[in-house]
């Protein structure tokens, strides 16, 4: 009986839920609402030290090896877009979550949730993309599952992938390791993926030369770690963009981040689209970029390694870690002034005028 009581206590939701509270789209944005959901509802139910590291992947010791393990679901609309589709995202996204832990990705699982009525041709195209992306990333899809839901219960096709990789013994990357004085490196231009998706959305179609940057980053990571292992933390700034990843690092490491607006590479087309749509590129999603927090003395060697790699050609130092405003990210504008780069509450909303 006492044990049952303990179990019941632990399962009780830790925060009082107001009547009628429900999931909003903002809970999936990667912003503050997502964080609240994680902290208040999900983590309390699952408490364990591995999960509580809250990195993009879990790293566990098994039979003397360090195994990286991660999972990700993909719900993109439209399914196909310039530069890729839901299949390439599902492979690269999970490969990247493993890579951000410094792991060599090895095996993936693939779960498909298919909506009644989905053309088989669509599924074939996505499977072909998955085949190609897995081959390029040198990972094997070794297990899977399919489920079909009634028409109206899904959005054509949802994909989940989980992944396993191996981490070398000397590699310890985590969002809680940034130290004042460290430098912030970014592997290339931001906002390409998010603007590509927006440009294809119903009701918002606009012509754009931008394509999604979806790519598997593990060989770039391997090259960086080979050049110098003094990397504190890696993150791929996906949903919520650069801002969400940096805010997470700032708050997990109790440090401030100071960005230089001029140093952040953004394509002209992406800047233009953001100006027109009233969006800030710092909050727009990427699928093939990484942020690295590194010791200053190692930055040169790591940057060199990035520049040599096809996915790091326009890598830049974009900021520094400071102790002056813990858990806050700021940016120095072109005018020499400084402002906060806050975590958004939910999705970025287009402004009226």
């Amino acid at each position: 009986m006492p044990q049952d009581a303990k179990l019941e206590m632990a399962l009780k939701c830790p925060i009082p839920i107001a009547d009628g509270e429900s999931i909003l789209m903002g809970h999936g944005s990667g912003g503050r609402m997502s964080g609240d959901l994680l902290r208040n509802i999900l983590l309390p139910a699952l408490q364990n030290p591995v999960l509580e590291r809250l990195d993009d992947q879990a790293i566990v010791e098994l039979g003397g090896s360090r195994i990286a393990f991660t999972t990700d679901s993909f719900v993109v609309k439209p399914l196909f877009f310039p530069g890729g589709d839901i299949g390439t995202l599902a492979v690269n996204g999970t490969v990247n979550d493993l890579a951000m832990g410094g792991a060599k990705p090895l095996f993936l699982s693939l779960a498909l949730i298919l909506e009644e009525g989905l053309p088989l041709d669509t599924l074939c195209r996505v499977m072909e993309s998955i085949r190609v992306a897995a081959a390029l990333a040198n990972v094997l899809v070794v297990t899977g599952d399919t489920k079909v839901v009634e028409k109206g219960s899904g959005d054509g096709l949802f994909v989940n992938t989980s992944g396993i990789g191996l981490v070398s013994s000397g590699v310890r990357l985590s969002a809680n390791q940034a130290r004042p004085g460290d430098l912030v490196l970014l592997s290339g231009t931001i906002g390409d993926h998010g603007i590509t998706i927006l440009s294809q959305r119903e009701g918002l179609e606009f012509e754009s030369a931008v394509t999604s940057d979806t790519a598997a980053l593990h060989t770039l990571v391997a090259a960086m770690l080979d050049a110098n292992s003094d990397i504190r933390c890696l993150r791929d700034p996906t949903r919520g963009g650069l801002s969400s990843s940096l805010n997470e690092i700032a708050s997990r490491s109790h440090v401030g981040v100071e960005l230089e607006e001029d140093a952040i590479p953004i394509r002209e087309e992406v800047r233009g689209a953001c100006e027109l749509l009233g969006l800030d590129p710092l909050y727009v999603a990427n699928e093939g970029k990484l942020l690295a927090i590194v010791e200053p003395k190692s930055a040169g060697a790591i940057l060199d390694a990035m520049w040599q790699h096809p996915l790091g050609g326009s890598a830049q130092i974009i900021g520094t870690i400071t102790d002056s405003h813990p858990a806050v990210v700021t940016i120095r504008t072109r005018l020499g002034t400084s402002r906060i780069v806050d975590l958004l509450s939910g999705d970025q909303l287009p402004r009226i005028c």
């Binding site: 009628g20 429900s22 999931i23 909003l24 789209m25 903002g26 503050r32 609402m33 009701g203 918002l204 002209e268 800047r271 233009g272 100006e275 749509l277 405003h325 806050v328 700021t330 504008t333 072109r334 005018l335 020499g336 002034t337 400084s338 402002r339 906060i340 806050d342 509450s345 939910g346 909303l349 287009p350 402004r351 009226i352 005028c353």
Partner: protein
């Protein structure tokens, strides 16, 4: 980016600030009218660059912020009806009504959609004849012509399932209300560049004559705003009061006559309640009687909806420039963008949200000194 980077040049900005510092011999209180201008001032930290003698207060020009609580409640009520599709600009969705917001209505199954243009709402109405499609038309003279065009087009096509919940507001009556207040502190205005692109600046000459206050129509980039501030301070120091146009690359004296025509065809001037300020006579636009069949307020019978604003919110004082967002005891604690007590904390153009998002660290540093 061409035509934008030129207006964000740090060296030129410093040059204007240096001139401003030489020219300002006394303290001056200036107000930017438009929410887009507030956003730029905060995003680029322009108030940090100005000499201490120049105080900027932030005007009532954020359309999201001044849309009355009862209008939001009406939109929420309409969006909750099973037969209705409410189509809106994105940043209206998070504005709290009396009890809930449109995001929550959407989560409960309400059909709420976001567009960038009212013509998208027309397209949706044509494609979905079984839905009652309502466009939530808020904003100043800037957004009004496109919305007028949508209604005009719907009438021409005989589109029966399209209507509009219109709550447009006008800038000049709001400036008049501010200047008429015995508590007014504002000595010069940065005029709303986009509003004047549509309306021209003829109507601002009456205000200048009546109240002897300089108005400089300004743009939205950092250099636009700095230049407009310099032009205002120059007038004030010289004891002049005139309407001047800084935003010459967009604004003409007459404005966009075609846009004004369609406005006059579809809308008529009406009294309007502003959130945080209250009623201002002849400060809004409603659909004309000839377009009554497109008035969502009538179609859905929401004319009687009324609402009271939360007592703790000082948005009235903030929107009139009497107080800064940081003067509010709830700022950053009980009132944040995640949990706004009032509209200026909701939109990124709202003064409170702009302070919160962009300047919190500077405020914290100043206070700890």
């Amino acid at each position: 980016m061409k035509y934008l980077d030129e207006y964000r040049n740090g060296e030129i900005a410093q040059g204007i600030v240096a001139k401003l510092t030489r020219r300002a011999t006394r303290p001056w209180v200036l107000m930017e009218i438009c929410g887009g201008q507030t956003h730029t001032l905060m995003r680029y930290g322009i108030d940090e660059m100005l000499p201490a003698s120049i105080e900027l207060v932030h005007g009532p020009g954020c359309p999201v912020c001044v849309t009355s609580l009862e209008t939001i409640d009406k939109a929420i009520e309409i969006a909750s009806r099973p037969e209705a599709t409410l189509i809106s600009y994105g940043d209206m969705l998070r504005v709290p009504g009396s009890r809930t917001d449109l995001f929550h209505v959407k989560a409960q199954g309400g059909d709420v959609r976001v567009v960038y243009s009212p013509t998208e709402a027309l397209k949706f109405a044509r494609a979905n004849p079984g839905r009652k499609v309502v466009f939530f038309a808020v904003g100043f003279e800037t957004t009004a012509p496109a919305n007028a065009m949508a209604v005009w087009q719907a009438k021409r096509e005989g589109l029966r399932n399209f209507s509009m919940l219109a709550s447009h507001v006008l800038v000049p009556p709001a400036i008049r209300a501010l200047l008429s207040s015995t508590r007014n502190r504002v000595q010069g205005f940065i005029g709303p560049g986009h509003v004047c692109t549509v309306m021209g600046y003829r109507e601002y000459e009456d205000l200048v004559r009546e109240f002897h206050v300089p108005i400089v129509v300004g743009g939205f980039e950092p250099l636009d705003l700095l230049e407009a501030i310099l032009m205002l301070v120059t007038q004030l120091e010289e004891g002049r009061a005139a309407v001047e146009n800084q935003y010459v690359r967009s604004v003409t004296y007459e404005g966009n006559l075609r846009a004004q025509e369609i406005l006059a065809e579809v809308f008529e001037v009406c009294d309007r309640k502003w959130r945080g300020i209250g009623g201002i006579p002849e400060s809004g636009l409603n659909l004309r009687e000839e377009y009554a069949e497109f008035d969502a307020d009538r179609i859905f019978g929401t004319e009687g909806v009324t609402a009271d604003e939360p007592a703790e919110c000082i948005s009235a004082e903030v929107l009139q420039g009497l107080k800064k967002p940081t003067d509010c005891s709830a700022f950053g604690t009980r009132c944040t963008p995640d949990n706004p007590l009032g509209a200026p904390m909701v939109s990124s153009e709202g003064a409170c949200a702009a302070y919160y998002r962009y300047r919190r660290h500077a405020i914290a540093v100043t206070e700890s000194h």
